[in-house]
């Protein structure tokens, strides 16, 4: 019998218990499968339980440890992946009814790498249909039902990585893999109160992942803490011949903390137009950050460039190209969300010159953002301007008047391929979590993760357990 507290242990602690023989990989895997079915089911977090595969992997991992083969920190650790990663012989639905019977005959590179690292794949986790590329406007945007945050099941988990966010937050798995085109890791991390890392574009191979926007899509970990995210990133990063945009870059994350103080800037307008609790929690976070970082006087403006317009144009055009057959055949009407049934058509009508203009402007954006970030280890802002929206309202009706703050930070970072980490930093309306995001230069994941780890050393928000996991 696995104690409830074990479900919330960080990866290092789980690994230590497994290695010392205090925790059985097979028992832990079976318990996670049960919790995914029960708790995950109540949160609409799971598409497919991979029970048979998981138990076989657990047996192999156990045998290997007995034989002295330890694959590292992920050896024997249960996990889930967003259901846009191909898994051989197991349905990969992309969260969309028209693809609910789709089965690939190969594993995505990230799935292969997790297996090589000894992780146990327990579930394909829920997501917003087609990763949200067609403009969904409320939480009812997946054939598995709206993703629910375990802090209050009347509210959304955030998307498009709905299942990875809620499953990790509810202790169903210690970590999961999500994806972000523009906000799909940072948002559910904030709304579910977990730590989410959006890596630099190209850090993690996209091979075998559903393509929404090949020039924007990124895969990254969602987990209990920044340290957990690092351990997962270390296992999944690196160049892959099947993804020509992927590269290998050093990950110099050191368990020993740096002796120099970090330099942090606050994004200009970060707390304008955000909910009062979001603002207060952000300001409280600054006090904690000041213990180990110098926070620059005055706010730092992001370049005055149309990041949102660029992202919108690129997502629309690339998404329509990726799913042209679905749209033009009319099968798109099988999508769950009404807005998604028409959004794809709009993408088919984006003028080529607008798309190319967006790609050309991205060059300017890269240079301008690099200049802005040059003097800082990180720029920070609230992860989202509000807590999670309710599942029974359209997004634009959920919190009228609170659409400011970090509104530009997510599209700006994604447009130029920058990394970001979101960590929980308190609670707001209806007992829902809020988050703070650390954004940095390209390839600076290790700096952001150390910053987030130091913040989590000073705070307890990432250790809180949600109450809405019971029936």
């Amino acid at each position: 019998m696995i104690d409830e507290a074990v479900f919330y242990l960080p990866i290092r602690e789980l690994h230590a218990r497994i290695r010392s023989g205090k925790l059985s990989i097979i028992e832990l895997t079976a318990a996670c499968l049960k919790r995914l079915e029960d708790v995950g089911g109540r949160l609409n977090a799971v598409v497919t339980l991979t029970s048979d595969l998981a138990m076989k992997q657990a047996e192999v991992a156990t045998k290997e440890l007995k034989e002295g083969k330890d694959r590292g920190f992920l050896h024997g650790i249960p996990c889930g992946v967003k259901d846009l990663l191909a898994t051989k012989g197991i349905p990969t639905t992309w969260g969309a009814a028209p693809y609910r019977d789709q089965v690939f005959d190969f594993d995505a590179t990230v799935v292969q790498k997790l297996r090589q690292a000894g992780a146990i794949l327990c579930a394909k986790l829920a997501m917003v249909e087609l990763a949200g590329g067609f403009g969904y406007n409320n939480a009812d945007a997946s054939f598995t039902g709206p993703g629910l945050t375990p802090w209050n099941r009347k509210f959304w988990s955030g998307g498009s990585s709905t299942g990875p966010g809620s499953a990790v937050a509810a202790g169903c798995v210690p970590f999961a893999i999500g994806s972000e085109t523009s906000g799909s890791i940072i948002t559910p991390a904030a709304y579910c109160g977990v730590t989410g890392l959006r890596p630099t574009y190209g850090r993690v191979s996209r091979y075998g992942a559903m393509a929404l926007c090949w020039s924007l899509d990124k895969l990254g970990p969602m987990a209990r803490s920044a340290d957990c995210c690092h351990l997962v990133l270390r296992a999944i990063h690196g160049a892959d011949p099947n993804d020509p945009t992927s590269v290998t870059r050093d990950l110099n994350y050191d368990v020993e903390l740096p002796k120099t103080r970090f330099k942090i800037g606050i994004v200009k307008g970060a707390t304008d137009g955000v909910q009062p609790a979001v603002k207060k929690n952000f300001e409280d976070s600054l006090k904690e950050l000041a213990k180990f970082a110098d926070i620059a006087d005055g706010e730092v403006p992001l370049p005055d460039l149309p990041f949102g317009a660029a992202i919108g144009t690129i997502v629309s055009a690339e998404g329509a190209s990726a799913f042209r057959g679905l749209i033009e055949s009319g099968r798109v009407k099988g999508l769950q969300n009404e807005a998604d049934r028409t959004g794809g058509y709009a993408g088919l009508m984006v003028p080529a010159v607008d798309y190319l203009q967006a790609l050309r402007v991205r060059g300017r954006m890269k240079r301008a953002m690099a200049e802005t970030y040059e003097k800082f280890d990180a720029l920070i802002a609230p992860s989202r301007s509000t807590v999670a929206p309710p599942i029974d309202k359209d997004f634009d009706q959920s919190y009228p008047g609170f659409h400011g703050g970090a509104g530009t930070v997510i599209p700006a970072g994604n447009a130029v391929g920058q990394p970001a980490v979101s960590v929980p930093n308190g609670f707001g309306e209806n007992g829902l979590p809020t988050g703070i995001q650390f954004t940095g230069k390209i390839w600076s994941e290790e700096v952001l993760l150390v910053l987030a780890r130091l913040y989590q050393r000073e705070t307890v928000w990432h250790l809180k357990k949600p109450l809405a996991t019971s029936p």
């Binding site: 020039s215 317009a309 919108g312 028409t342 009508m349 984006v350 402007v361 890269k366």
Partner: protein, 97 residues
């Protein structure tokens, strides 16, 4: 659902739409967006021509609104001054992976 527009209606609509993007860049930046009503009507005609069989009237309206937003996004992007040598950010490699 509406009937598919006639060839003449479609040609008129295309003329309105083309007028929005065919101007030289410098001139476009200073030229207001074409009459919004005419643009919306033109869009509706094109939408019905291309996808009318698949969409309800409500969906046509929704799509029309989305496309107007897209058009506004295009205008915003156009305001960024680019040099001739500002290449688009695309990854093409002649060699196989």
């Amino acid at each position: 659902m509406h009937a598919i527009p006639s060839r003449r209606q479609f040609a008129q609509a295309l003329a309105v739409l083309a007028g929005a993007t065919a101007l030289p860049i410098a001139a476009q930046a200073q030229t207001p967006i074409p009459d919004a009503k005419a643009y919306a009507a033109a869009l509706e005609t094109v939408i019905r021509h291309r996808f009318g069989r698949q969409l309800t009237d409500d969906q046509v309206k929704r799509l029309q609104a989305t496309l107007i937003n897209r058009r506004n996004a295009g205008e915003l992007l156009k305001q960024v001054e680019l040099a001739n040598g500002d290449d688009p950010i695309v990854a093409f490699r002649a060699d196989l992976p």
